[in-house]
Structures are given as structure tokens and as C-alpha cells.
Subunit: 328 residues, 4 copies
């Protein structure tokens, strides 16, 4: 049973903390948060001490840390934890700047620390099954990947201002999924974006509706589209067209109940929101991290995956701004 | 190209007449109807002469007749046509009394005439495919058959009074389908019926909501349920559970368009009504009849199929009336 | 936080024990089992003492017990626990004989103890939603209920011998569901059964393929069918046809991934088996029991529900044996 | 009843000819084709005389012509027919060069002739319903349009050489659909294409796998993807995401039969190929043309729609060649 320290006790940190508490393979050693109230409340709920980050990193009985603090602290905490000899799980992104990520990964490499990045969707059972069957050759070579992703509603404007923009904040998950499915690195990025949901998002310099095309060196193509608003729930679909067929993963609906009346057949909305939709994914993600810590195996997705997704997000941001394709 | 005379120019007769007119393998020779206006209107539409039944039967250039007149005339017309050497297609049922059917089939047998009965659902492409795959062994031996059938709304009370009752008028199609799918004759019939849709139907001595169970000699079981009313359209589903799996045929919807909103996902009602739902079935049924006339092959479903379905309908009527199982 | 003692540490007992351990509203006080090894293993896993039944019942700090022992011990344990002042949750059935159940319920009534029976399917989120919407009037009055239930594969022959037969062992869940959905008591039962899956089941005096029809006093009808074998998983479907439409709950599939090739579109099998399919149902069932203990509210389903389902199962067994309808 | 002359008796011409023959509102006056055998065979089948193009155009009893000859003859025939005072239906495209199209449309405008272009998908009942409901405001303003289109298998290489390339030959239908759904003209086109299905297609200078993004002046975005090969049939899907929800049209499958076994649930492939998939669309398209001729109403899609789609196809071809976005 490994011992894990939690750095950051917000919404996603609390989720990971509860999963650790329910795991038979790990125990939660301590909780740290810049806001004492947040750490205190979560610590009390789970019967775990609140400690400072330095204190946790200095504790040799702590095997690993999960970094769930605000984005601007990620790189520094990764470096500190790596130097302290901890295995590190860090929520995406490592940083909003790819240069900063490179520097951070260099230090991680020097220390030999394990670093896993929280692209939770790779651990969704449906998406993971799809990718496994894809790699097993069920539809032959990949040709066209289609990813549709819509949030139920936009985040607060204040959040948008510090988010890095839709491509870095929301579509970055789809960039990671694209790499996961394409089996090759994209080399060209084209992008379009508009503020159709809320003009204030446009005034804030961001978009809420966006589309991207990626192409790999061998000519595989991926299309991604995002919207910050979907009345019918958290829409998450992937589809891969290959030489011998197609594999796709449908949405998860809130229930299987269907009503038939003179108005037709009505089924439930899709699950809403990511904490509900990806509950099993977060558990499986934690399991994978623990397994790597225990077995010594290399974690996936790792720091390089975090960097590559960020580079694609940067390129898409630039492509949407200039209207011109970007090479990556 | 064979020549066909139409006896009965009502709704179903007009449908067959138009299908004959559109066929490249048959031509419509003449139309007869007890109501001159009905015959005249259809004849004018299709450019075909109106003639008397006797005249049509006496015409040696007419190869076959399709009997679409009222039920009480069926047996007599079948006999007359068989004696006149015509191939005969007759809408279900041959008669509301099984003794009358037996007598009629004896005469047909004496004349050696071909007789096909209009159980149109056997020719529905989906149901026909299901049955073909069942016989090909895709799910092994049949164990449980489930048939759900609901009409959009009840017929006029006046019709119900002369219909022979729900089991003979509506469920008879499901009895034929049960035989088509079971691959064995039912030997026991249990039935329940209620007037839940309209009390007036109960006062008229009939039911509008009914369920039946059939068992064959080897123990195969079939469940059928009927309702005279379904707000969402003409509900027609069959499902067969076998030793190695399950085969089912879903409903046909009016369109493939789906709307997703905060209320969930809404799909179209099912097709409404039988003329629309079974349009391809009627065409294929006619083709099968023509093919038998041309090739000399025996038609299916034949008079014996009509008799067996009627016996099941009679038994179900009696079972529902008495509450007791009936052997057939 | 209430304190619960577990009587019976087999498969289903272990499931409930783990749910109690994970609950924030209850704690597991002790485990008892006739087999010391079973109790010991579960106790060790959850850090809970193994104690005798008598000891647990005598412990005034224990608020409630969950009875998960073999069926033949249920009635006696319910009585003992009720007399000891415990709230009681008992897995279905109370007993294989309805007279024994009546006697047991009399004692429960005398003691004023709470008794909840483990018909887990009522707590399936999908089925519960369907029933709630039904009662809310979304489709008007109930007219026809259809319940399809298939197990992946038959239990061992040895189990079948002491199970009370398919109607009491397997279909009893569907009888409870029928009552849950019909909103009225069935008054007539018709049944058919065959041994089609395994002749040895027939030699043992049981059936593996069965169908039932129920009718209520007002004429509502329910059809149920069961098979002990389904290659495609644990098939669990319900459908209610009402005056204004239809409500149904579809199966849960193992994943949402779909493969399209020249062979068509292939989706995953349905979840297999009940522990997986009804995981959320068991959690919600426990929550409901705890809520009743805490709030003092009457539990549902209660002893009378257990009795009524058993009476229907007895009647179906007799109906299948004699071929005659049974009044209940 | 109007009188129509058919110019071009190939596959699509024969389809239109049979639809005219089956129509109660039009009659087929004559057939012309550069290949006498093709015209003769179709004329014989339908009992219609074979005549020269000039002869048909000179016949004042002919109200309209349908141009189904090879693409390189379209513009000239349109001009000749317009000058002869005929209403004109022309299969897409008017010409592979947009300058030639403009010149042709100028002449059509001078003559005041009606000109309808054969974008059959607008008349598919499902797509037409979707667009009608979109315009009726069911999901509010359009934000994102997604169009997925895959052919079962690539055409012969010889055809590809003279087709104008995938964007002009195949995706042109999707460009028209994009305009039909967006409700605004696209102003920017980005495109990517690869030869993944067959390298010989790449050597011939074309692509077989392609993706496009369009943006309108107000910021609406459309994604299109095409593949020349899909093992599972002729894949034709559209989806529109709007301010208040989503409307989509699913594929049409060859049957509703579903098989469930240990391998999961298997449904039929999608309909294959366009003649089968779009049979009702072609009938409705003809009806719309006839209605315009009879009523004097302006036809849709018209020559300008043909021109706009061609301009988008040209732009996409250039965008894919250069890698640069194109303004239109």
C-alpha cells in the first residue's frame, strides 16, 4: 500500500482524495492547500492531516504526490516533488507555456522521477476499449478521426480570462485524445474559432465555438469540434474511420428509460457533467498511477504527452488567431 | 406477363391494384366491386374496365384473381374462382368460421387451384429476413417468441361488431407470425383480454387489450400482446430467443432525425399506419403470388395457413371468454 | 450513523457488507455465518469482528440486521431479530412456503419491527425512474406490462433442486416488478414452462424457459418471460403500455463502443451478471433501508410485498404444473 | 401533365426516366443519348421514342428537359434548352469551371428560363425534415455543422482522372448541404486531403480521404469529412449544433433486424449505394421540379446554388493543394 500526499484540495483534488481513500492499494497521507479552509474541510472528511507542501515533500514515508493546485503552480510543484524523490501525478496542464513545460520536464528527467499527467479521458472505459481495439487492428490503419466535445455551459468569464483560451483549456483534452487515437504525431494544425455562445467571451479575447483539423506525416486526418454550451448535457464522442471499418464510442445517457408518445420517442439527456461522466475514468486513472508507482513501470500519459498536447493547443490558438496553418 | 382480375375495390383492393399496375410481370385485367362507384373510380384511375365477377371468372384470358371484398364473401369467391381455373389470392381471413374454411379448402383441393392467403407481414423485408436467418440456424433452436403489436387507434364500433373480435380481426396476423417463427404448430392456447381503451368495445362484447400464450408440442413458447391504441404509432415488433442468442426486428420510424435539448433526445414516432408500414411487404407479397402463378410453385402462406391461424384465433377467443386453456 | 449486523457472509452478504463499509450513514458492527471461514474472511477484509447470531441479536448497540443466510433460515432469523428489537432487512424470499411467511409476518407485526425485503430491482435507477414517471401519470393508466428477463446461464443442478423452482427462484423478481408497475394486485395467474435449455433441469422437476400472464381486477394485463440462458448477457427489460403512451427501460450494455464493418454494426453484450448489472441498485437499496431505520418511516418493499410475490410464484408453479389458471 | 424530354440515358438518366414514367403529373416525351444503344434500350423499356437533342428542343409540346449527359455537355445543353424555351433540370455540376458556369447562368438569366440543379440530398426526407425544423427555430441559431460522408468504395481510376477531383466530384454534395444547413454563405475554406485508400489515386493527382472547414461571415463553422471507402456501406450523416440544442439525421440501415449473441449485438450495414439510399430523394426532387414548371415558382436549388457549390469545391481543391485557407 503506497502513501500519497495531495497538493490542492479543490474540486478535482477532493475527487482524487476520495478515490485514494476508497482504494485498497493506497492511503492518503496528508492534504495541503493554499486555502486552509479547503484543506481542513477535506482533511476532516477523510480523517487525514493537513500539512504544508514542504512538510509533505520532506516526509520520506510519502511515496507519491498528486498535484491538483492552480495551473500556475504545477511546474514548480512538479520540480520540487521530483527533486524530493516522489512519484508525481499532475493535473493537466503542466503549464500554459510550452517552454516552461520543457524546462520542467528536463528537471524531471534529471531526477528520474515518474511523472503522469491527468488526461482522464484515456482512462474512460469506453474510450480505452476503443483505443485498445484500434491498436489490435480491428479496423486496420487509421484514416480519419472525428472528435466532438461540448460542455453543458461556459465557465465564468473570470475563469476564461486566466484559462489560456478554449484551445488550451478545453480542447487540450481532445488534442490528447487525437494523439491517443491517431497513433502518429500531428504535423499540421488548422483552426477556426468564434464567440457565438456569449459575445462577452469574444470581448475577453477568447472563443466558445471552435473547430480544428490535424494532419500527420503519413496523411492521417483528425477533425475536432468544441462548443462551450450544449443544452442536452456533456457531449463526448469519438469516432475512428479506418481501412476496414469504423469504431466509435457513443455518449452515456443519464438513464435507459424511454418514453413514447404522440410526440415520438424521448430518451434521457447525456450525463452532465465531467465529474459524473468520468467517474470510472478517474478511478482507473488513479489505479494506473498507483500501479506504476508500485511496479516501477513508466506512466502514461507522461510529461511528454503533456508537452505535445500543449504544443498542439498553442498552435491551434495561433492558427485561429492568424487564420493560417501551423506546423508543429 | 400474367393477367389478374381484382374482386373488391376498397382500400386494400386499390393498394393491390396499384401494385399490379406498377408491376412488370402482371397486368390488371378488370375490376369488380359490389359498389359500382368504388369499381368505377379505381378503374378510371388505372385505365382498366369494370366488369362483373362472373364475367371476370368466365374470361379465359384472366389467369388469377385477387379477392379483396368483404370477409363474408371470401369463401364463396374462392370456390368460384378455383372452379373457374383461376389462381387465387385472398385477403385474410378465408372466413370467420373454421368449418366454412375447411369446406372451402376441400373444394380448392378438388380443383387443384392455387390459393394464397394475404398474411402480408411474412413479406415485410425485416420480418422475412429475421425468419430466414432463424431457419438458417443463427440462434439455434427456437425457445421463446415475443410478438408485440399495437394499432394507433381502434376501428369504428360498427366495424368491431362485425369483425369477429380482436383475436380474429387483429391478432390473427400475430398468430400467423407465431407459426411462421415457431417452426412448429402450437398445441395449447391461453388468453386474456380486457376493454381498457374504450368501455364501449367491452359493451359490444369485444376486447381492445389482449395477451396470449402459445405452446408447441416440444415446449416452445410464444407470447403475444395487442392493444388497439398506441399514441406513438403502429407498433410492430417481433423477437425470438433461441439456444444460441436472440433475433429481433425493431420498429420503423417515420424519420431518422433526432433532436437533443434540455428535455433529452427525441426521435420520430413509428410509422403510422399499416398501408405505410407495410408498403414494401404488399409489393413483395404480390411478387410472390405472381411468381407462383408463373412458375407453378405452391404459394405460401396457403389455405392451410389461413385455417391454422383461424383455429388459433378461435381458440384464443374461447380461452379469453372462459378463462381456460384451449387445446388445438 | 446506525450500526448493522450481517447474518450470512456469502456472495450477497459480502456485497451488502462492502456497501455498509462504504456508507457514511452506517457502520458494520459484526459478521455471523454458519461457516466460520466465510465469516472470518469477510470480517478480516473489512476489519469487523465475527460473532454468533445470538450475540449480535443480544447486542443493544446493534440497530439493524441484514439477513443473507440460506433461504431456509430466513423466517426464523427474521422472527428472532424482530423479537430482539432490530430493524430487519432480509434477502428474498422470506420462505418458500407462503404459510410460513404469514406466520413470520404475524410475529413481525406483533413486535412492531421494521422489515424490508431485498427486491433489489426496485432500486435500479432506471427501473425506479420508470416507475416514478409512471405514477406521475406520464402515460396515463397502465394497460399492458411486459417484462423480459433472461439469465446468462443456468445455476448448478444441485442448486435447482433446492431452489423451489424457476417461478419461486428467478421469476419471483419479475412478480415483484409486475406488482411494482401494475399498481394493482394480480388476481389471475396463467403459466407455461419447459425444459429447453437443459433436459436435466426437466428431469429434476423444474423448467428453464417460462412465460406467465397476470390479470388484475380492473383488467390490466402483464406478460413475463424467463429463460435460464442468454448468450448475450443478463437481459433485463421492462415496458409499460398505458393510455397515453409507453415507457420502457432498455438493457445496460458493457460499453458504448460500436464497430462497423462489412458485417454490419456490432455493439457490446449486455452487462453480465446481476452483481454488475445491479451494483447501483444494491447501494440504493441499502440507503433506503438505512433511511427507514433512521427516520422511522415504513420500509418498502416490506414483508407483505414478500408474501404477495411468493403467492404469485406459488400460483405460477401450480398453473404451470396443471395447465390451469390460478386465482390469487 | 407536363411533357419532359430526357437528354442522357445513363444510370442517373434512366432513374429519372423511370420516375417520370411513374409520375401522375408528367409524361416522358422522348429520350436522347449520344450512344444510340443506351437511348434505344431505355426508350424500349418505357415505350418512349428515341429522338435527337435538336429534335426534342425544337418540339414545342415538350415543356422541360432533364440533362443527365456527361458533365462536359451540361453547360451547352442548358444554354440550348433555355434558348428553346424549356424549363431545365440539370444534374450537378453545371461545369467543372466556375467561369463557364457564370457564362451559362448569364444566358439562362437572359432567356428567363427556369433552371434547377440536381443536388438530390436536399430532397432526402430526413435531411429535408431536419432543415425545415432548423429553419423553424427548434435549436435556435446555427453554430456548428458536422457532415460525414463516405462512399462504399472508390470509383474506377479512369473516372477519377476526369472527375475534377474528390472536392468537385464527391464533396460538392456536402458543400451544397453545408450551404443548405448553415443559412449563410461560407467565406473561408480550409482543406486537407490524402490518398490513403489507394496510392494510385494519389499518383493520379487526387485524394481519397479529405476534410474541410468552412466559416461564414457571422462565425458559424462547418466541418466536412469524406472517404472514398467504407466497408459498412454508404455513410451519410449530418448534425447541426445550435444555441438551444442539436439536430441530427442518422444513417439508414438495410434492415431493422438485430442479432444478439456472445459476440454482442449486431445490426445491419447502412444502405449501399446512393441509388438505393436516395430513392425517395430522387422522386421528391422530380416532384419539386414538376411543381415549379407547373406553378411557375422559382426552382431550388437553382443555377446560383450550383455555382456557389462549385466555387467552394474549387476553393477546397486549391486549399488542399497549397495548404492555405481560401477566401470565397
Amino acid at each position: 500500500m503506497i502513501s500519497i500526499g495531495l497538493l490542492g484540495a479543490g474540486r478535482i483534488g477532493a475527487l482524487h482524495a476520495r478515490n485514494i481513500a476508497a482504494s485498497s492499494k493506497a492511503r492518503l497521507a496528508a492534504v495541503a492547500d493554499a486555502l486552509p479552509a479547503a484543506a481542513g474541510s477535506l482533511g476532516a472528511e477523510l480523517g487525514v492531516p493537513v500539512r504544508s507542501v514542504d512538510d509533505i515533500l520532506a516526509d520520506r514515508s510519502v511515496d507519491a504526490v498528486m498535484i491538483c493546485s492552480s495551473t500556475d503552480t504545477h511546474a514548480e510543484l512538479i520540480e520540487a516533488a521530483a527533486r524530493a524523490g516522489k512519484a508525481v501525478f499532475c493535473e493537466k496542464p503542466v503549464d500554459l507555456g510550452s517552454e516552461r513545460i520543457r524546462a520542467c520536464l528536463d528537471i524531471v528527467a534529471e531526477t528520474g522521477a515518474k511523472l503522469m499527467i491527468g488526461f482522464n479521458r484515456r482512462f474512460d472505459p469506453h474510450f480505452a476499449e476503443l483505443q485498445t481495439r484500434l491498436r489490435a487492428g480491428e479496423i486496420g490503419d487509421v484514416e480519419l478521426v472525428t472528435i466532438l466535445s461540448r460542455d453543458p455551459s461556459p465557465p465564468p468569464l473570470a475563469y476564461i480570462g486566466r484559462s489560456g483560451g478554449l484551445f488550451r483549456d478545453m480542447m487540450i483534452h481532445d488534442f490528447d485524445m487525437a494523439r491517443f487515437l491517431l497513433g502518429e504525431e500531428p504535423v499540421v494544425v488548422m483552426a477556426m474559432g468564434s464567440a457565438l455562445v456569449d459575445p462577452a467571451i469574444g470581448i475577453a479575447g477568447d472563443v466558445d465555438t471552435a473547430a480544428v483539423m490535424l494532419r500527420t506525416a503519413s496523411g492521417r486526418i483528425c477533425q475536432i469540434s468544441n462548443s462551450r454550451r450544449a443544452s442536452y448535457g456533456y457531449d463526448q464522442r469519438i469516432e475512428v474511420h479506418g481501412a476496414r471499418g469504423m469504431l466509435r464510442a457513443h455518449n452515456l445517457h443519464e438513464s435507459t428509460v424511454e418514453l413514447a408518445t404522440a410526440d415520438g420517442f424521448r430518451a434521457a439527456p447525456v450525463m452532465n457533467f465531467f465529474l459524473e461522466r468520468y467517474t470510472p475514468a478517474y478511478r482507473r486513472e488513479l489505479d494506473a498511477f498507483i500501479d506504476c508507482v508500485v511496479s516501477g513501470a513508466a506512466p502514461h500519459p507522461d510529461g511528454r504527452d503533456g508537452l505535445r498536447a500543449q504544443i498542439l493547443a498553442d498552435a491551434a490558438t495561433e492558427a485561429a488567431r492568424t487564420g493560417l496553418p501551423q506546423s508543429v
